[in-house]
Protein backbone atom coordinates (compact mmCIF):
# COMPACT_ATOMS: atom_id res chain seq x y z
CA UNK A 1 0.00 0.00 0.00
CA UNK A 2 1.31 3.40 -0.97
CA UNK A 3 0.35 6.09 1.45
CA UNK A 4 0.59 9.84 0.95
CA UNK A 5 0.20 11.55 4.27
CA UNK A 6 -0.62 15.28 4.27
CA UNK A 7 1.77 15.91 1.42
CA UNK A 8 2.58 19.47 0.35
CA UNK A 9 4.53 20.33 -2.76
CA UNK A 10 5.47 23.61 -4.39
CA UNK A 11 7.01 23.75 -7.86
CA UNK A 12 8.66 27.05 -8.71
CA UNK A 13 6.24 29.47 -7.11
CA UNK A 14 3.19 27.27 -7.74
CA UNK A 15 1.58 25.48 -4.79
CA UNK A 16 0.60 22.21 -6.47
CA UNK A 17 -0.31 20.02 -3.54
CA UNK A 18 -1.29 21.13 -0.10
CA UNK A 19 -2.10 18.72 2.74
CA UNK A 20 -2.90 15.97 0.27
CA UNK A 21 -3.55 12.48 1.61
CA UNK A 22 -4.25 9.29 -0.34
CA UNK A 23 -3.88 5.53 0.05
CA UNK A 24 -3.25 3.50 -3.06
CA UNK A 25 -4.29 -0.09 -2.54
CA UNK A 26 -1.92 -2.88 -3.35
CA UNK A 27 -2.83 -5.11 -6.29
CA UNK A 28 -5.55 -2.78 -7.57
CA UNK A 29 -5.81 -0.33 -10.43
CA UNK A 30 -6.36 3.21 -9.21
CA UNK A 31 -7.35 5.76 -11.83
CA UNK A 32 -6.81 9.47 -11.36
CA UNK A 33 -8.77 11.92 -13.39
CA UNK A 34 -8.84 15.67 -13.07
CA UNK A 35 -8.55 19.03 -14.79
CA UNK A 36 -5.47 19.87 -16.83
CA UNK A 37 -2.73 21.37 -14.63
CA UNK A 38 -4.23 20.18 -11.33
CA UNK A 39 -1.18 18.19 -10.23
CA UNK A 40 -1.65 14.64 -11.51
CA UNK A 41 1.80 14.36 -13.03
CA UNK A 42 3.32 15.83 -9.88
CA UNK A 43 1.52 13.16 -7.87
CA UNK A 44 3.01 10.37 -9.98
CA UNK A 45 6.48 11.90 -9.76
CA UNK A 46 6.17 11.94 -5.99
CA UNK A 47 5.08 8.30 -5.93
CA UNK A 48 7.98 7.34 -8.19
CA UNK A 49 10.39 9.14 -5.84
CA UNK A 50 11.44 11.54 -8.60
CA UNK A 51 10.30 14.46 -6.49
CA UNK A 52 10.42 14.76 -2.73
CA UNK A 53 7.44 16.19 -0.80
CA UNK A 54 8.07 19.58 0.82
CA UNK A 55 5.91 18.56 3.79
CA UNK A 56 4.23 15.32 4.82
CA UNK A 57 5.39 11.77 4.10
CA UNK A 58 5.11 9.15 1.41
CA UNK A 59 5.44 5.53 2.50
CA UNK A 60 5.21 2.13 0.84
CA UNK A 61 7.29 2.94 -2.23
CA UNK A 62 10.68 2.04 -0.78
CA UNK A 63 11.07 -1.52 -1.93
CA UNK A 64 8.91 -1.54 -4.99
CA UNK A 65 10.32 -1.85 -8.47
CA UNK A 66 8.54 0.92 -10.33
CA UNK A 67 7.70 1.14 -14.00
CA UNK A 68 6.45 4.41 -15.44
CA UNK A 69 4.78 5.58 -18.65
CA UNK A 70 5.68 9.27 -18.67
CA UNK A 71 3.42 11.90 -20.11
CA UNK A 72 6.02 12.42 -22.86
CA UNK A 73 7.47 9.39 -24.65
CA UNK A 74 11.03 10.07 -23.35
CA UNK A 75 12.72 7.83 -25.87
CA UNK A 76 16.42 7.61 -26.60
CA UNK A 77 16.73 9.08 -30.08
CA UNK A 78 20.08 7.39 -30.61
CA UNK A 79 18.72 3.89 -30.09
CA UNK A 80 16.41 1.86 -32.28
CA UNK A 81 12.95 0.80 -31.17
CA UNK A 82 14.21 -2.58 -29.95
CA UNK A 83 17.26 -1.01 -28.27
CA UNK A 84 15.01 1.38 -26.39
CA UNK A 85 13.33 -1.57 -24.76
CA UNK A 86 16.59 -3.47 -24.32
CA UNK A 87 17.97 -0.40 -22.54
CA UNK A 88 15.71 -0.90 -19.50
CA UNK A 89 15.87 -4.69 -19.57
CA UNK A 90 19.61 -5.12 -19.84
CA UNK A 91 20.45 -5.43 -16.15
CA UNK A 92 17.30 -7.23 -14.99
CA UNK A 93 16.72 -10.18 -17.31
CA UNK A 94 18.86 -12.66 -19.23
CA UNK A 95 19.65 -11.87 -22.87
CA UNK A 96 17.41 -14.67 -24.11
CA UNK A 97 14.47 -13.54 -21.98
CA UNK A 98 15.13 -9.99 -23.15
CA UNK A 99 14.66 -10.97 -26.78
CA UNK A 100 11.43 -12.78 -25.87
CA UNK A 101 10.06 -9.81 -23.95
CA UNK A 102 10.97 -7.37 -26.71
CA UNK A 103 9.27 -9.49 -29.31
CA UNK A 104 6.19 -10.11 -27.18
CA UNK A 105 5.51 -6.53 -26.19
CA UNK A 106 6.54 -4.87 -29.46
CA UNK A 107 4.11 -7.21 -31.23
CA UNK A 108 1.43 -6.31 -28.74
CA UNK A 109 1.66 -2.60 -29.59
CA UNK A 110 2.18 -3.33 -33.30
CA UNK A 111 5.74 -2.10 -33.57
CA UNK A 112 7.64 -5.32 -34.12
CA UNK A 113 8.21 -4.63 -37.79
CA UNK A 114 9.69 -1.25 -36.79
CA UNK A 115 12.15 -2.77 -34.30
CA UNK A 116 15.17 -1.48 -36.19
CA UNK A 117 13.81 2.01 -36.87
CA UNK A 118 14.97 5.06 -34.93
CA UNK A 119 12.33 7.07 -33.01
CA UNK A 120 12.52 9.99 -35.42
CA UNK A 121 10.94 7.74 -38.05
CA UNK A 122 7.92 7.03 -35.85
CA UNK A 123 4.63 8.89 -35.82
CA UNK A 124 3.33 10.48 -32.62
CA UNK A 125 1.11 7.55 -31.74
CA UNK A 126 3.88 5.07 -32.49
CA UNK A 127 6.22 6.84 -30.09
CA UNK A 128 3.52 6.70 -27.45
CA UNK A 129 3.06 2.98 -28.02
CA UNK A 130 6.79 2.43 -27.73
CA UNK A 131 6.86 4.21 -24.39
CA UNK A 132 3.93 2.06 -23.23
CA UNK A 133 5.67 -1.07 -24.43
CA UNK A 134 8.86 -0.17 -22.52
CA UNK A 135 6.95 0.19 -19.26
CA UNK A 136 5.12 -3.11 -19.73
CA UNK A 137 8.20 -5.06 -20.68
CA UNK A 138 10.13 -3.85 -17.63
CA UNK A 139 9.51 -6.21 -14.68
CA UNK A 140 7.72 -4.22 -11.99
CA UNK A 141 5.64 -4.38 -8.82
CA UNK A 142 4.15 -0.97 -9.28
CA UNK A 143 3.12 0.65 -12.53
CA UNK A 144 2.58 4.38 -13.00
CA UNK A 145 0.97 5.55 -16.22
CA UNK A 146 0.47 9.18 -17.24
CA UNK A 147 -2.04 9.26 -20.09
CA UNK A 148 -0.65 6.13 -21.68
CA UNK A 149 -3.31 5.88 -24.40
CA UNK A 150 -3.19 9.36 -25.87
CA UNK A 151 -2.58 9.81 -29.59
CA UNK A 152 -4.18 6.48 -30.34
CA UNK A 153 -7.33 5.89 -32.35
CA UNK A 154 -10.36 4.54 -30.53
CA UNK A 155 -10.22 0.87 -31.52
CA UNK A 156 -6.49 0.63 -30.83
CA UNK A 157 -6.99 2.43 -27.57
CA UNK A 158 -9.74 0.05 -26.54
CA UNK A 159 -7.67 -2.87 -27.66
CA UNK A 160 -4.74 -1.77 -25.53
CA UNK A 161 -7.05 -1.08 -22.60
CA UNK A 162 -8.39 -4.63 -22.86
CA UNK A 163 -4.81 -5.89 -23.08
CA UNK A 164 -3.86 -4.06 -19.90
CA UNK A 165 -6.88 -5.59 -18.21
CA UNK A 166 -5.80 -9.05 -19.33
CA UNK A 167 -2.20 -8.52 -18.19
CA UNK A 168 -3.46 -7.32 -14.82
CA UNK A 169 -5.80 -10.30 -14.46
CA UNK A 170 -2.91 -12.68 -15.11
CA UNK A 171 -0.73 -10.92 -12.58
CA UNK A 172 -2.52 -8.38 -10.37
CA UNK A 173 -0.14 -5.53 -9.66
CA UNK A 174 -0.49 -2.11 -8.15
CA UNK A 175 -1.28 0.33 -10.95
CA UNK A 176 -1.87 4.07 -10.88
CA UNK A 177 -3.31 5.38 -14.11
CA UNK A 178 -3.71 9.06 -14.87
CA UNK A 179 -6.11 9.68 -17.72
CA UNK A 180 -8.33 12.32 -19.22
CA UNK A 181 -10.62 9.80 -20.77
CA UNK A 182 -13.53 8.77 -18.57
CA UNK A 183 -13.93 5.63 -20.63
CA UNK A 184 -10.40 4.45 -19.80
CA UNK A 185 -11.02 5.02 -16.13
CA UNK A 186 -14.29 3.13 -16.23
CA UNK A 187 -12.83 0.22 -18.13
CA UNK A 188 -9.76 -0.24 -15.96
CA UNK A 189 -10.29 1.33 -12.56
CA UNK A 190 -11.06 -0.57 -9.39
CA UNK A 191 -11.19 2.86 -7.95
CA UNK A 192 -11.42 6.25 -9.68
CA UNK A 193 -10.26 9.39 -7.94
CA UNK A 194 -11.54 12.66 -9.31
CA UNK A 195 -9.35 15.62 -8.45
CA UNK A 196 -10.22 19.28 -8.20
CA UNK A 197 -8.30 22.09 -9.85
CA UNK A 198 -4.98 23.15 -8.28
CA UNK A 199 -4.21 22.70 -5.42
CA UNK A 200 -5.55 19.21 -6.00
CA UNK A 201 -8.17 17.91 -3.57
CA UNK A 202 -10.16 14.70 -3.87
CA UNK A 203 -13.61 15.63 -5.22
CA UNK A 204 -14.90 12.14 -5.64
CA UNK A 205 -13.62 8.68 -4.80
CA UNK A 206 -15.49 6.00 -6.72
CA UNK A 207 -15.06 2.28 -6.09
CA UNK A 208 -16.19 0.10 -8.99
CA UNK A 209 -16.82 -3.49 -8.03
CA UNK A 210 -17.66 -4.86 -11.48
CA UNK A 211 -14.87 -7.28 -12.48
CA UNK A 212 -12.70 -5.93 -15.33
CA UNK A 213 -13.70 -8.79 -17.63
CA UNK A 214 -17.35 -7.88 -17.38
CA UNK A 215 -17.02 -4.24 -18.32
CA UNK A 216 -18.61 -3.54 -21.65
CA UNK A 217 -16.43 -1.95 -24.21
CA UNK A 218 -18.31 -1.19 -27.37
CA UNK A 219 -21.26 0.48 -25.70
CA UNK A 220 -20.67 3.27 -23.27
CA UNK A 221 -19.30 1.44 -20.25
CA UNK A 222 -21.07 1.66 -16.93
CA UNK A 223 -23.56 4.42 -17.77
CA UNK A 224 -24.33 5.46 -14.20
CA UNK A 225 -20.69 5.95 -13.25
CA UNK A 226 -19.93 7.77 -16.45
CA UNK A 227 -22.65 10.38 -15.93
CA UNK A 228 -21.63 10.85 -12.31
CA UNK A 229 -17.98 11.50 -13.17
CA UNK A 230 -18.84 13.77 -16.04
CA UNK A 231 -21.08 15.82 -13.77
CA UNK A 232 -18.36 16.25 -11.15
CA UNK A 233 -15.75 17.20 -13.72
CA UNK A 234 -18.08 19.61 -15.50
CA UNK A 235 -18.92 21.44 -12.32
CA UNK A 236 -15.23 21.76 -11.50
CA UNK A 237 -14.42 22.96 -14.98
CA UNK A 238 -17.12 25.63 -14.89
CA UNK A 239 -15.24 27.32 -12.07
CA UNK A 240 -12.06 27.76 -14.08
CA UNK A 241 -13.60 28.41 -17.49
CA UNK A 242 -16.95 30.11 -16.95
CA UNK A 243 -17.16 31.20 -20.62
CA UNK A 244 -16.51 27.96 -22.44
Amino acid sequence: MIKLDRVGKTLGRTRVLSDFSLCVEKGKITCIIGPSGCGKTTLLQLMAGLEQPDTGRITGTEEARVSYVFQEPRLLLWKTVAQNIAFVLQDVVTPARRQELIKEYLSMVGLYEYRDSYPKALSGGMKQRLALCRAFAYPHDFLLMDEPFKSLDTPLRLGLVRQVARIWQANPQTVVLVTHDIMDALLLGHRVIVLSARPAAILDDIRIDVPLAQRNVVQEPLPGYHARMLAVLEAENKKSFPNL
Partner: protein
Amino acid sequence: MKSSSSLTRGLAPLFGLVIFIALWQVASGFYNHVILPSPSEVARSVASLTIDGRLWEHARQSIIRGLTGFGLAVAAGVPLGLLIGVSPLLSNIFRPLVVTLQVVPLISWLLLAMIWLGFSQVPAFVVFVTTLPLITINTVQGVKNIDLQLMQMSVVFRISRPRVFREIYLPQVLPYLLAGVSTALGTTWKAVAMAEFLSVSQGIGARMALARINLETADLFAWTFILIGLGLITDRLLTYLVDKRLRHWM
Protein backbone atom coordinates in the same frame (compact mmCIF):
# COMPACT_ATOMS: atom_id res chain seq x y z
CA MET B 1 20.23 20.98 -47.80
CA LYS B 2 22.31 17.86 -48.28
CA SER B 3 21.22 17.70 -51.87
CA SER B 4 23.25 20.65 -53.17
CA SER B 5 25.00 19.12 -56.14
CA SER B 6 28.44 17.75 -55.55
CA LEU B 7 29.62 19.93 -58.45
CA THR B 8 28.97 23.22 -56.63
CA ARG B 9 30.27 21.65 -53.45
CA GLY B 10 33.58 21.02 -55.12
CA LEU B 11 33.74 24.26 -57.05
CA ALA B 12 33.03 26.78 -54.30
CA PRO B 13 36.20 26.33 -52.30
CA LEU B 14 38.19 25.99 -55.50
CA PHE B 15 36.88 29.34 -56.61
CA GLY B 16 37.85 30.91 -53.29
CA LEU B 17 41.29 29.39 -53.60
CA VAL B 18 41.82 30.82 -57.08
CA ILE B 19 40.89 34.31 -55.93
CA PHE B 20 43.14 33.96 -52.92
CA ILE B 21 46.13 32.88 -55.00
CA ALA B 22 45.56 35.69 -57.48
CA LEU B 23 45.48 38.28 -54.68
CA TRP B 24 48.56 36.77 -53.18
CA GLN B 25 50.41 36.86 -56.50
CA VAL B 26 49.59 40.54 -56.86
CA ALA B 27 50.57 41.32 -53.28
CA SER B 28 53.84 39.45 -53.57
CA GLY B 29 54.79 41.88 -56.33
CA PHE B 30 54.86 44.69 -53.79
CA TYR B 31 57.11 43.03 -51.29
CA ASN B 32 60.51 41.48 -51.35
CA HIS B 33 60.22 37.71 -51.53
CA VAL B 34 61.87 37.43 -48.13
CA ILE B 35 58.76 38.97 -46.67
CA LEU B 36 56.14 37.63 -49.03
CA PRO B 37 57.27 34.99 -51.49
CA SER B 38 55.13 34.47 -54.56
CA PRO B 39 52.81 31.47 -54.83
CA SER B 40 55.08 29.83 -57.38
CA GLU B 41 58.12 30.09 -55.13
CA VAL B 42 56.18 28.49 -52.32
CA ALA B 43 54.90 25.80 -54.66
CA ARG B 44 58.43 25.09 -55.75
CA SER B 45 59.50 24.84 -52.14
CA VAL B 46 56.67 22.44 -51.32
CA ALA B 47 57.61 20.36 -54.34
CA SER B 48 61.25 20.13 -53.38
CA LEU B 49 60.38 19.25 -49.79
CA THR B 50 58.14 16.50 -51.08
CA ILE B 51 60.61 15.14 -53.58
CA ASP B 52 63.62 14.91 -51.32
CA GLY B 53 61.57 13.21 -48.61
CA ARG B 54 61.95 15.89 -45.95
CA LEU B 55 58.24 16.58 -46.01
CA TRP B 56 57.30 13.11 -44.90
CA GLU B 57 60.27 12.74 -42.55
CA HIS B 58 59.31 15.76 -40.49
CA ALA B 59 55.56 15.67 -40.98
CA ARG B 60 55.52 12.13 -39.68
CA GLN B 61 57.11 13.17 -36.41
CA SER B 62 54.76 16.12 -36.00
CA ILE B 63 51.76 13.93 -36.74
CA ILE B 64 52.82 11.33 -34.19
CA ARG B 65 53.42 13.98 -31.54
CA GLY B 66 50.20 15.79 -32.38
CA LEU B 67 48.03 12.71 -32.32
CA THR B 68 49.63 11.48 -29.10
CA GLY B 69 48.84 14.70 -27.29
CA PHE B 70 45.41 14.96 -28.86
CA GLY B 71 44.55 11.36 -28.09
CA LEU B 72 45.57 11.76 -24.47
CA ALA B 73 43.58 14.99 -24.25
CA VAL B 74 40.43 13.27 -25.51
CA ALA B 75 41.00 10.30 -23.22
CA ALA B 76 41.42 12.55 -20.19
CA GLY B 77 39.19 15.47 -21.17
CA VAL B 78 35.94 13.59 -21.71
CA PRO B 79 35.82 11.88 -18.29
CA LEU B 80 37.06 15.07 -16.67
CA GLY B 81 34.35 17.09 -18.37
CA LEU B 82 31.69 14.56 -17.38
CA LEU B 83 32.82 14.69 -13.76
CA ILE B 84 32.95 18.47 -13.65
CA GLY B 85 29.55 18.67 -15.28
CA VAL B 86 27.99 16.19 -12.86
CA SER B 87 29.42 17.25 -9.53
CA PRO B 88 29.58 20.82 -8.28
CA LEU B 89 32.25 19.72 -5.81
CA LEU B 90 34.54 18.30 -8.46
CA SER B 91 33.78 21.30 -10.58
CA ASN B 92 35.17 23.52 -7.86
CA ILE B 93 38.34 21.48 -7.71
CA PHE B 94 38.97 20.81 -11.36
CA ARG B 95 37.64 23.84 -13.12
CA PRO B 96 40.45 26.08 -11.89
CA LEU B 97 42.85 23.39 -13.04
CA VAL B 98 41.36 23.43 -16.52
CA VAL B 99 41.46 27.20 -16.68
CA THR B 100 45.07 27.07 -15.56
CA LEU B 101 45.99 24.64 -18.30
CA GLN B 102 44.31 26.92 -20.73
CA VAL B 103 45.80 30.20 -19.60
CA VAL B 104 49.41 29.29 -18.92
CA PRO B 105 51.37 30.26 -22.00
CA LEU B 106 53.72 27.99 -23.85
CA ILE B 107 56.90 29.52 -22.47
CA SER B 108 55.88 28.85 -18.91
CA TRP B 109 55.07 25.26 -19.75
CA LEU B 110 58.25 24.87 -21.62
CA LEU B 111 60.26 25.35 -18.50
CA LEU B 112 58.32 22.86 -16.43
CA ALA B 113 57.89 20.36 -19.23
CA MET B 114 61.61 20.37 -19.78
CA ILE B 115 62.29 19.55 -16.16
CA TRP B 116 59.63 16.88 -15.86
CA LEU B 117 59.47 15.25 -19.20
CA GLY B 118 62.59 15.93 -21.16
CA PHE B 119 62.65 17.67 -24.47
CA SER B 120 61.34 15.13 -26.85
CA GLN B 121 58.03 14.90 -24.99
CA VAL B 122 57.44 18.64 -24.97
CA PRO B 123 55.39 18.90 -28.18
CA ALA B 124 53.01 16.12 -27.22
CA PHE B 125 52.69 17.63 -23.76
CA VAL B 126 51.98 21.08 -25.17
CA VAL B 127 49.30 19.65 -27.43
CA PHE B 128 47.82 17.88 -24.46
CA VAL B 129 47.58 20.95 -22.22
CA THR B 130 46.35 23.09 -25.11
CA THR B 131 43.57 20.82 -26.28
CA LEU B 132 42.46 19.31 -22.98
CA PRO B 133 40.55 22.45 -21.92
CA LEU B 134 38.82 22.67 -25.29
CA ILE B 135 37.52 19.15 -24.93
CA THR B 136 36.76 19.37 -21.23
CA ILE B 137 34.85 22.64 -21.35
CA ASN B 138 32.74 21.50 -24.28
CA THR B 139 31.97 18.28 -22.47
CA VAL B 140 30.98 20.21 -19.36
CA GLN B 141 28.64 22.38 -21.38
CA GLY B 142 27.17 19.26 -22.95
CA VAL B 143 26.52 17.71 -19.56
CA LYS B 144 24.82 20.90 -18.42
CA ASN B 145 22.39 20.55 -21.29
CA ILE B 146 21.51 16.92 -20.65
CA ASP B 147 17.77 16.29 -20.93
CA LEU B 148 16.51 15.97 -17.36
CA GLN B 149 13.47 14.01 -18.50
CA LEU B 150 15.70 11.23 -19.77
CA MET B 151 17.63 11.33 -16.52
CA GLN B 152 14.39 10.80 -14.60
CA MET B 153 13.51 7.95 -16.91
CA SER B 154 16.87 6.29 -16.17
CA VAL B 155 16.35 6.73 -12.44
CA VAL B 156 12.96 5.07 -12.54
CA PHE B 157 14.23 2.13 -14.54
CA ARG B 158 17.24 1.87 -12.23
CA ILE B 159 19.88 2.09 -14.90
CA SER B 160 23.34 1.77 -13.33
CA ARG B 161 25.57 4.82 -13.19
CA PRO B 162 28.15 3.59 -15.68
CA ARG B 163 25.39 2.81 -18.15
CA VAL B 164 23.75 6.18 -17.63
CA PHE B 165 27.11 7.76 -18.40
CA ARG B 166 27.64 5.68 -21.48
CA GLU B 167 24.14 5.51 -22.88
CA ILE B 168 22.48 8.73 -21.69
CA TYR B 169 25.25 11.23 -21.11
CA LEU B 170 27.66 10.41 -23.89
CA PRO B 171 25.19 10.46 -26.79
CA GLN B 172 23.78 13.79 -25.62
CA VAL B 173 27.21 15.24 -24.97
CA LEU B 174 28.38 14.06 -28.36
CA PRO B 175 27.43 17.14 -30.41
CA TYR B 176 29.23 19.32 -27.88
CA LEU B 177 32.13 16.95 -27.79
CA LEU B 178 32.34 17.12 -31.55
CA ALA B 179 32.65 20.87 -31.41
CA GLY B 180 35.42 20.43 -28.87
CA VAL B 181 37.17 17.74 -30.85
CA SER B 182 36.88 19.75 -34.02
CA THR B 183 38.47 22.85 -32.49
CA ALA B 184 41.02 20.74 -30.65
CA LEU B 185 42.09 18.91 -33.77
CA GLY B 186 42.83 22.15 -35.57
CA THR B 187 44.63 23.57 -32.57
CA THR B 188 46.69 20.40 -32.32
CA TRP B 189 48.69 21.17 -35.44
CA LYS B 190 49.30 24.70 -34.41
CA ALA B 191 50.40 23.70 -30.94
CA VAL B 192 52.69 20.95 -32.10
CA ALA B 193 54.36 23.28 -34.58
CA MET B 194 54.75 25.97 -31.96
CA ALA B 195 56.24 23.57 -29.46
CA GLU B 196 58.61 22.06 -31.98
CA PHE B 197 59.57 25.55 -32.98
CA LEU B 198 60.74 26.24 -29.48
CA SER B 199 62.00 22.93 -28.28
CA VAL B 200 63.12 20.26 -30.69
CA SER B 201 65.09 19.89 -33.87
CA GLN B 202 62.88 17.53 -35.83
CA GLY B 203 59.36 18.01 -37.08
CA ILE B 204 57.49 20.69 -38.98
CA GLY B 205 57.87 23.37 -36.34
CA ALA B 206 61.59 22.80 -36.01
CA ARG B 207 61.97 23.19 -39.76
CA MET B 208 60.00 26.40 -39.58
CA ALA B 209 62.41 27.70 -36.98
CA LEU B 210 65.31 26.82 -39.21
CA ALA B 211 63.68 28.42 -42.23
CA ARG B 212 63.09 31.55 -40.21
CA ILE B 213 66.65 31.84 -38.95
CA ASN B 214 67.90 31.40 -42.48
CA LEU B 215 65.31 33.82 -43.85
CA GLU B 216 63.96 31.14 -46.20
CA THR B 217 60.49 32.62 -46.19
CA ALA B 218 59.31 30.45 -49.05
CA ASP B 219 60.14 27.40 -46.93
CA LEU B 220 58.35 28.91 -43.95
CA PHE B 221 55.26 29.39 -46.12
CA ALA B 222 55.65 25.92 -47.55
CA TRP B 223 55.60 24.37 -44.10
CA THR B 224 52.67 26.57 -43.15
CA PHE B 225 50.72 25.25 -46.12
CA ILE B 226 51.66 21.74 -45.20
CA LEU B 227 50.19 22.42 -41.77
CA ILE B 228 47.05 23.85 -43.34
CA GLY B 229 46.81 20.77 -45.51
CA LEU B 230 47.16 18.60 -42.44
CA GLY B 231 44.44 20.63 -40.70
CA LEU B 232 42.05 20.42 -43.63
CA ILE B 233 42.58 16.71 -44.11
CA THR B 234 41.96 15.89 -40.48
CA ASP B 235 38.95 18.22 -40.38
CA ARG B 236 37.42 16.52 -43.43
CA LEU B 237 38.20 13.13 -41.99
CA LEU B 238 36.44 14.02 -38.78
CA THR B 239 33.39 15.40 -40.60
CA TYR B 240 33.29 12.27 -42.73
CA LEU B 241 33.50 9.92 -39.79
CA VAL B 242 30.86 11.83 -37.90
CA ASP B 243 28.47 11.90 -40.86
CA LYS B 244 28.95 8.23 -41.43
CA ARG B 245 28.49 7.16 -37.83
CA LEU B 246 25.83 9.54 -36.61
CA ARG B 247 23.63 10.36 -39.56
CA HIS B 248 20.78 8.07 -38.62
CA TRP B 249 19.75 9.66 -35.39
CA MET B 250 20.73 13.28 -35.73
